[in-house]
């Protein structure tokens, strides 16, 4: 990892920009991760420049998804302008959530960076020293290793590869911000773009390999049953997913409850029935709900206490559905959502 690519360097550039924007009043507040106690990196909504002292815009781990944090206070348009510094997959989810009417992006500027990836929470927790390094995929979460959307998202992106160290505007909103900060620099971005397409190709290969392996390991419905056999129904995958925003999930609705006699019936059919018996319905239902909007961020997999490759599975399914609808989650805020309706009955035949 070269010096300009180090997290420390990226963080100091990002903090400079934020400080400038907040200090000059061009923006009213900023949402960034900050360093908390016990190796934690909670998101913070900051309006006071002095509070930026603890800011760590690019933390080594992803504890809460940035779009989820953003959605917690932006359903109504914010009064002042807000700058949110987040990873590319977080910016994409923010765009998806705005289409789903969970975020109002009107007064929000999204600043991203060339993302090095994130360290798995379980490994970081040990001593808090592992650094995410895109040249060493084994430091990264499985979904980060195969991420192909690692740069150029949101309104602006901090480019640190291809010999650059500058903020590249991606939208008129981004353009305007750079203008007002007096940071607009003409520069040749071709080497940077080359870097991105090179890494993108490498990642595509990893992604294809990973999908092949998954399909081999968990083939068809029987395969899915196996994949989820260790699921303990903690539903953390759902809770941490930026796209799963329902207050009450379909699986928890009272009318989904079955009487004891029905469980016995199922048990008699095959001699035994696994409990909690709605595991598969939950996962297939969730995939059906959000596979079009999945941004492959890997939050679900990172939170899963049972080491189920849940993120890779959803992301694989998502690849297929988005291809079918020729849709790319979070890439373009103009593209309409391909599906607005979902019928639960569609899935009943998959229930075990």
């Amino acid at each position: 990892m070269s010096n300009t690519e180090s997290r420390k360097e990226i963080n100091s550039i990002l903090i400079d920009i934020v400080e400038k924007a907040l200090g000059s009043g061009i923006i009213g507040s900023v949402m960034v991760p900050s360093r908390g106690p016990e190796n934690s990196f909670p998101w913070t909504l900051i309006s006071d420049v002095s509070a930026l002292e603890r800011a760590e815009p690019l933390p080594p781990v992803m504890s809460v998804h940035g779009a989820k944090a953003l959605a917690s206070f932006t359903q109504s348009p914010s009064d002042g302008r807000l700058l949110a510094v987040m990873r590319p997959c977080e910016a994409r989810a923010a765009v998806e959530l705005s289409k789903l009417e969970q975020i109002n992006l009107d007064n929000i500027i999204l600043l991203t960076m060339d993302c090095p990836g994130a360290v798995p929470l379980s490994e970081y927790g040990e001593d808090g020293t592992i650094e995410p390094d895109l040249h060493h995929p084994d430091t990264l979460r499985p979904l980060c290793r195969q991420c192909i959307e690692f740069t150029s998202k949101g309104d602006l992106c901090l480019a640190i590869h291809g010999g650059l160290s500058m903020v590249v505007p991606l939208t008129t909103r981004g353009d305007e911000l750079l203008d007002s900060l007096g940071m607009k620099a003409e520069s040749d971005t071709s080497a940077w773009k080359e870097w991105a397409s090179g890494l993108g190709q490498e990642r595509e290969i990893t992604r294809t390999e990973s999908t092949d392996n998954l399909q081999k390991a968990y083939n068809g419905l029987q395969g899915l049953i196996e994949a989820f056999s260790g699921c303990i129904s903690c539903r953390s995958c759902r809770t941490v997913c930026p796209i799963c925003y329902c207050r009450l999930c379909f699986i928890d609705m009272k009318d989904r409850r079955s009487p004891a006699s029905e469980y016995l019936e199922r048990s008699r059919n095959s001699g035994a029935t696994r409990l909690m018996s709605d595991t598969l319905l939950f996962h297939i239902g969730r995939m059906a709900h959000m596979s079009l909007s999945c941004v492959s961020c890997g939050m679900c997999e990172d939170a899963c206490p049972s080491d189920i490759p849940i993120g890779r599975l959803v992301s694989m399914v998502s690849d297929n559905t988005t291809e079918l609808f020729d849709y790319n989650a979070g890439s373009n805020s103009e593209d309409p959502l391909p599906l607005n309706t979902f019928r639960l009955e569609e899935l009943h035949e998959y229930e075990d």
């Binding site: 998101w43 917690s72 206070f73 196996e226 016995l264 008699r268 001699g271 409990l275 939170a303 206490p305």
Partner: protein
């Protein structure tokens, strides 16, 4: 109550248990068996409802794992209606206690459930069984059990159990020893061949050393872990790494609300409020409400927490959730003079719960 009748068998506990369950199913003494099995994936377990006697050979009675809290699974089965035919359920003491609390809150029914429990040696955190050191860990369960189990002094089942299988005991047993607590248990045992029925010492006599060790561990846990009464700062720090996955709540057998209070519009902080608060303080953690959720759950659950440790087990960032809950439960339950799961007839304190009553214990 049958005083200390014991079924003694010279074959292993595993073998005896499986034969007993097969007999129960084959004689139609029960319709189904609720027990642990290994899934098709090694090292991963699940509860199953078994009706086919030939599948009993897959049952792992009291294997030291708790993939889901048994009460939660049983509540799922019986929440809309009770079993109309007997089912034999293999449950650990803390699972029974949690289920008794479920029943009190109309989240399930004990009707037709024949409970087979054990003197419980504890369970191993699921994460320790996922790695390569799995076999090693399973060979030394005592060194690897949950924190909550290490400090569990209620490892002998209460009055709801029909049978108690001696698993944990001070001295190793040769063969199986099963205490019979109900007429039905005695009837079942009388039909069971290759065993003898005797009178034994009370099960507490077989586990007095264990009780002492657990009591000591409990004291240490209570001494070392901060409680809400010790000031908010320590809790803020303990929960700082919380990722808000709510796994602790979903795994908890006692958190049975369809929609958690802290997911409702009533407790949600409005966008305007969050933004105003951030402006006022200069900086605010978002999403807000991490501690509100934890303190709220503490308030709701500490009176009825059965100290099973399931919440800690699922926490992906290793927050000692159950230690905190056990400490709070200890304080609260003692002051309310309420012991969750002891008796279905004890009125739960929350039946008459006024939120303000507990404020003095929360901060």
């Amino acid at each position: 109550m049958i005083e200390n009748s014991v079924l003694i068998s010279t074959s292993s506990t595993l073998d005896t248990m499986r034969r007993l369950l097969t007999q129960l199913l084959e004689n139609r003494e029960v319709d189904s068996v609720f027990a642990l099995r290994e899934t098709r994936q090694e090292g991963r377990y699940c509860y199953s409802l078994i009706t086919d006697p030939s599948l009993v050979s897959e049952v792992l009675p009291f294997h030291p794992v708790m993939p889901v809290q048994g009460a939660r699974a049983l509540s799922n089965l019986t929440i809309t209606e009770p079993f109309d035919r007997p089912v034999a359920a293999l449950l650990r003491p803390c699972e029974i206690r949690a289920f008794v609390e479920n029943v009190k809150q109309s989240q399930g029914s004990l009707e037709n459930i024949f409970i087979i429990s054990c003197t419980c040696p504890g369970v191993i955190p699921a994460s320790r069984l996922l790695g390569e050191e799995r076999d090693e860990v399973l060979r030394n369960p005592d060194e690897n059990i949950r924190n909550a189990c290490r400090a569990c002094t209620e490892f002998i089942p209460g009055a709801q159990a029909d049978m108690t299988v001696i698993i944990a005991s001070d001295k190793p047993l040769d063969g199986a020893v099963i205490y019979l607590h109900s007429e039905r248990a005695v009837e079942t045992a009388e039909k069971f061949d290759s065993c003898t029925l005797e009178k034994g010492p009370p099960p507490t006599e077989l586990t007095s050393e264990l009780l002492e060790a657990r009591g000591k561990a409990l004291k240490e846990l209570l001494r070392d872990i901060p409680a809400p009464g010790d000031g908010l700062r320590s809790l803020v720090s303990l929960f700082s790494a919380c990722i808000g996955c709510r796994g602790c709540r979903e795994a908890c057998p006692l958190c049975s609300c369809v929609l958690c209070d802290y997911e409702t519009a009533r407790t949600a902080h409005s966008p305007e409020l969050v933004r105003a608060e951030a402006k006022r303080k200069g900086s605010l953690r978002v999403p807000s409400g991490t501690l509100q959720f934890q303190l709220g759950r503490l308030m709701h659950i500490s009176p009825i927490c059965t100290s099973c440790g399931q919440c800690s087990d699922v926490c992906p960032v290793d927050i000692p959730v159950s230690d905190i809950f056990i400490r709070a439960a200890n304080l609260v339950q003692e002051s309310l003079n309420y012991f969750p799961g002891r008796d279905t007839d004890d009125t739960p304190p929350l039946a008459t719960f006024v939120e303000k009553e507990l404020l003095d214990i929360t901060d």
